[in-house]
């Protein structure tokens, strides 16, 4: 040993990571590479989280899936990582160093060992439902892969919409599956995992702006959310990367991005979601890269560009990509019923004028809210929620990744609003914290 | 007990009735001094609320005097005055104020006598109506 002092080497134990987004993936890889055994529990059919749904990431405009997919595959192939997808944690008992986690493995009616992800079943499935992975802009089948790069690459049958499971008819997928992987008799199962530490990285969900009547989401065809925009502009998305506006699917001439929809709003979420200023700039730049003549307008209250390279990104957006920044939170969007064009009414607080701007498309940069079920999970794990519904750190300043329960750590957006680089950093941080109770070398 | 001496406000238009009032003065015609004249350019300028405000502030009677119909310097100002006073009288009836406290007269510049007589009559009428209760502060 290179250091003086006595070392104690304990047996390396297992760690449970709840949440397969970028923070959870990072924690898993960091720990697995050090020799720990990881159980990565993810409630969606695939790991990847929201980063898998983005087109590009700011401020470098790197392709999101191109960065994420290698990490996802590494998790899949890693000998020390067990991915439990389509699963949820139901109970956690025990103490730091010796927890027992009960995990419900939801039945996907597919034998994971046998399924090759070939897609023959999907082609023959007659049941179509709105595709939540494409912002509900297109349809998927009831037997599906969430996206082409899904990890694990196994199909899932949506039990609520599958015709066989709900009505006893069809059965096409089973007939065409060459691997014999379809198993309608599968049941939800429970496994008990013995782990030394738990890392919670459950991320966020999107705020639904339908009830904010002033913006007309859900009523006006050309008002969409930022996530829907991401899917539209993504080449592997429902429109193949084309921005389509009603009524004739032409691309928009003027596009308005409205910041802080549901954020910094005492009537909804008081906190700043921290990423929407930057992703609006990114989306504007992407719009210009797709269409030379598009004019983006960003309506902001404060332009929060605080990370490395962020301010330069914002300035580049204005100088090279023609973004017009307008300081003023819009009060109302009105649609012209015949042309479907929108008028955004706002107060230009810098020039002190109240104006209406006619645009072809309005993108609501909605708030990111605590992941659905956070309160339930917090009760299961016996950790606290803060006043926003995010998980509470043991000490915001000196122990942000610890919770009140020793051995349970948090990382990523579920701890506090943050972007991808910070989530990755916290993933690694939580991994380091977990080693305190999960074994390894101690002085 | 002192005898009740009404306080009357009169809105007189510049072109006819005010001149008529002047004429009454220069002709040395006697008329009670209970009247306070407010000159307006046209009787049509008198909003009903001015009349009501005068009553609110304690006037016992309000007179509006303008040119004869057809002679208004501004063509139809006095017609407006007529409509407005009619509206006000309806309001006063609903309010429970005696509409006899408001009087609309057409007095031309040469009718100094008419002016004096109108004022004398009006003051007598208002004396009989008694003091305006609104002016009594709670």
């Amino acid at each position: 040993m290179p250091h003086a002092g006595r070392w104690q080497v304990n047996e390396m134990k297992s760690v449970l990571v709840i949440g397969g987004g970028i923070a959870g993936i990072q924690s898993s890889l960091d720990l697995a590479n050090r020799g720990y055994h990881i159980y990565l529990v993810e409630r969606e059919p695939s790991i990847g989280g929201h980063m898998a749904l983005l087109d590009k990431t700011f401020p470098t405009n790197d392709c999101s899936m191109c960065i994420l997919a290698p990490k996802m595959n590494e998790c899949n192939a890693h000998p020390n990582i067990d991915i439990l997808s389509y699963s949820e944690v139901m109970d956690l008992s025990g103490n730091a160093g010796d927890f027992t986690a009960r995990v419900q493995r939801k039945a996907r009616y597919i034998n994971e060992e046998k399924c090759t992800g070939c897609g023959d079943c999907t082609a023959r499935c007659p049941s179509k439902v709105p595709n939540e992975y494409n912002g509900n802009l297109d349809k998927r089948k009831s037997i599906f892969l969430p996206y082409p790069q899904a990890v694990p690459r196994v199909m899932t049958i949506d039990r609520e919409h599958c015709i066989y499971l709900t009505k006893g008819k069809c059965g096409n997928c089973k007939k065409v599956c060459n691997a014999g992987a379809v198993d309608y008799e599968q049941k939800d199962t429970f496994v008990d995992l013995n782990v030394a530490a738990v890392i919670v990285a459950t991320g966020f969900d999107m705020f639904d702006p339908t009830h904010m009547q002033e913006y007309g989401y859900g009523k006006y065809a050309n008002v969409i959310t930022a996530m829907e925009y991401e899917r539209m502009i993504c080449a592997s998305g429902p429109t193949g990367g084309h921005l389509e506006t009603a009524p004739d699917k032409e691309h928009p001439g003027k596009i308005a991005f409205i910041q802080c929809v549901g954020s910094r709003d005492l009537q909804h979420n008081p906190y700043c979601c921290s990423v929407c200023c930057m992703h609006a700039i990114k989306e504007s730049i992407l719009a210009r890269e797709h269409y030379e003549d598009i004019k983006p307008y960003i309506f902001y209250t404060d332009l929060r560009a605080v990370g490395k390279g962020f301010e330069e990104y914002a300035v580049r957006g204005e100088k090279e990509y023609g973004i017009k920044y307008i300081r003023g939170r819009p009060g109302q969007i009105i649609e012209d019923a015949s042309t479907k064009k929108l008028t955004v009414w706002y107060d230009d607080t810098v020039n002190r004028k109240v104006k209406g701007l006619e645009v072809d498309m309005a993108v609501l940069c909605t708030s990111l809210i605590p992941a659905k079920g956070s309160d339930k999970l917090a009760a299961i794990l016996d950790i606290e929620l803060d006043e926003y519904g995010l998980y509470k750190s043991r000490d915001e300043l000196t122990a942000p990744l610890d919770t009140r329960r020793p051995g349970v750590f948090i990382a990523g957006y579920c701890q506090s609003p943050k972007d991808i680089p910070e989530s990755v950093a916290q993933g690694s941080g939580a991994a380091a914290r977990a080693t305190e109770v999960a074994g390894g070398a101690y002085i | 007990m002192t005898e009740f001496s009404p306080r009357i406000v009169a809105f007189c238009c510049n072109w006819c009735s005010y001149v008529g009032a002047d004429l009454a003065g220069t002709s040395r015609l006697q008329y009670p001094d209970n009247i306070r004249i407010i000159k307006v350019m046209c009787s049509g300028q008198v909003f009903p609320s001015y009349i009501l405000k005068a009553l609110e502030l304690g006037a016992d009677g309000v007179m509006v005097a303008g040119c004869h119909i057809g002679d208004c310097h501004y063509v139809s100002g006095n017609k407006k005055a007529q409509e407005r006073v009619e509206t006000l009288l309806r309001v006063m009836k609903t309010l429970g104020l005696d509409p006899r406290r408001v009087r609309l007269e057409w007095i031309s510049a040469s009718e100094g006598v008419k002016f004096a007589n109108t004022v004398k009559e009006f003051v007598e009428e208002v004396k009989e109506l008694g003091p305006n209760q609104l002016g009594v502060r709670e």
Binding site: Q213, E214, C260, R264, D265, L266, Q267, H268, T301, R327, G328, R329, P330, G331, Q332, I334, E335, A337, W345, Y346, D347, D348, T349, R352, K353, V354, G356 | F47, P48, S49, Y50, L52, K53, L55, E56, T87, L88, R90, V91, K93, T94, L95, G96, L97, Q133, L134, V136, E138
Partner: protein
């Protein structure tokens, strides 16, 4: 002013501008911006705000207040600043030459004996004492002033008819005074308080435990602003639309089909009091409801508030609203506020700045329409 800022949480303002972006007045009047007024207040510019003509332009419609992300109570803030201006000697801007305000002030004199029950015809049953009181508001005075193009007292008659149909003989007091809403919102708090005290005396004398009113402004004032004066009593206050809606639900009355209707949400009934559904239920039971583009919380104010500012901007708002109503294709525009009715009808009473066909949709009061549609009449 510091008290007003504290009470209305104006110090939370982050100058985001959502208020001015929602304001229907700011869109037609360049000089008016809610955000700028708050900005001035936070900078301590009391005199400038009080002396500003635009202080009286605000419609207190609460389009901004319902949207403010910092929960600044802007309408209350304006009310407070107007009261402050009034105390500093500024008079409010008044439309109709200030006649309505005069009428309301006169009603604050205790010994006044009004003559306001002439509209009660023989077929209407009323009482001098009872459990239910019908608060008429200023309808008799509106009739005096505006009978050229609108029948405000028809609302009163319709209300009593419907109450009678439900087996209620309401108290209609000859000593009722204006609720004081307009004076309160134009800064004259002292006279408002006088009116409130007189009305509460009248209410207590009647023995009523329930008050029905056909005016949303009276509703708001009685329910919210009279709270201190009515303390200790347990009096229920409802708007006639809520009352009719519950009669329909209990199958106590039935309405015949009256046509396709669109509905103007009055500011005081909608945004101030949160009552959006009851009037809609009444409309749906007598026909189809077609919503305008801007409805419920997004509904556009009728352009005039508290008989303060009424000018070209008001007319523009009214014409735009009528165009919106006409373009729904409905047979009529229904509203449940006598003032919305008067202001919208007034807009097309004289000169109309657009083609008549764009705005010639009949404007009808909800209670009147319901009364006409009563089955078995």
């Amino acid at each position: 002013m510091k008290q007003i800022i504290k009470r209305t949480k104006a110090y939370y303002c982050v100058e985001c501008g959502k208020c001015s972006g929602s304001c229907p007045v700011a869109r037609v009047n360049e000089g008016f911006s809610p955000r700028v007024i708050v900005e001035r207040a936070l900078s301590g510019m009391k005199g400038e705000i009080e002396g500003d003509r635009e202080l009286w332009t605000c419609l207190t419609c609460e389009a901004c207040t319902t949207k403010c992300p910092s929960t600044v109570k802007f309408s209350e803030f304006i009310r407070g600043m107007r009261s402050s201006a009034f105390n500093s000697g500024y008079t409010s801007r008044c439309s109709q030459g200030g006649l309505l305000h005069s009428i309301q002030r006169v009603q604050s004199y205790r010994d006044l004996v009004q003559n306001r029950l002439q509209w009660i015809s023989d077929d209407l049953k009323t009482s001098t004492e009872g459990e239910v009181l019908y608060f008429t508001g200023c309808l008799p005075y509106f009739e005096n002033l505006f009978s050229g193009f609108v029948n405000p007292l028809e609302i009163a008659r319709s209300t009593v008819k419907i109450l009678n149909k439900a087996g209620i003989s309401p108290v209609v007091s000859p000593n009722e005074r204006c609720c004081g809403h307009d004076l309160l919102w134009t800064g004259n708090v002292e006279t408002f308080q006088k009116l409130a005290r007189l009305n509460v005396e009248m209410i207590k004398e009647s023995g009523a435990s329930r008050i029905v009113t056909s005016c949303p402004e009276c509703l708001r004032t009685l329910k919210l602003d009279y709270a201190d004066f009515l303390e200790g009593t347990d009096i229920e206050i409802v708007h006639i639309s809520e009352f009719i809606s519950s009669l329909i639900k209990n199958n106590d009355i039935k309405l015949n089909r009256a046509g396709i209707m669109t509905y103007q949400d009055p500011c005081r009934l909608g945004r101030h009091m949160g009552i959006y559904d009851a009037p809609r239920e009444v409309i749906k039971s007598m026909g189809e409801l077609v919503e305008m583009n801007k409805n419920r919380e997004e509904s556009s104010c009728c352009g005039v508030s508290a008989w303060a500012t009424c000018e070209g901007n008001s007319k523009q708002m009214q014409i735009e609203r009528l165009i919106e109503a006409k373009s729904t294709g409905a047979d009529m525009l229904v509203t449940s506020c006598p003032k919305c009715l008067i202001h919208l009808r007034c807009a097309v009473h004289n000169q109309i700045p657009v083609e008549k066909e764009k705005v010639d949709i009949p404007v009808v009061d909800l209670t009147v329409a319901a009364c006409r549609a009563l089955a078995g009449e």
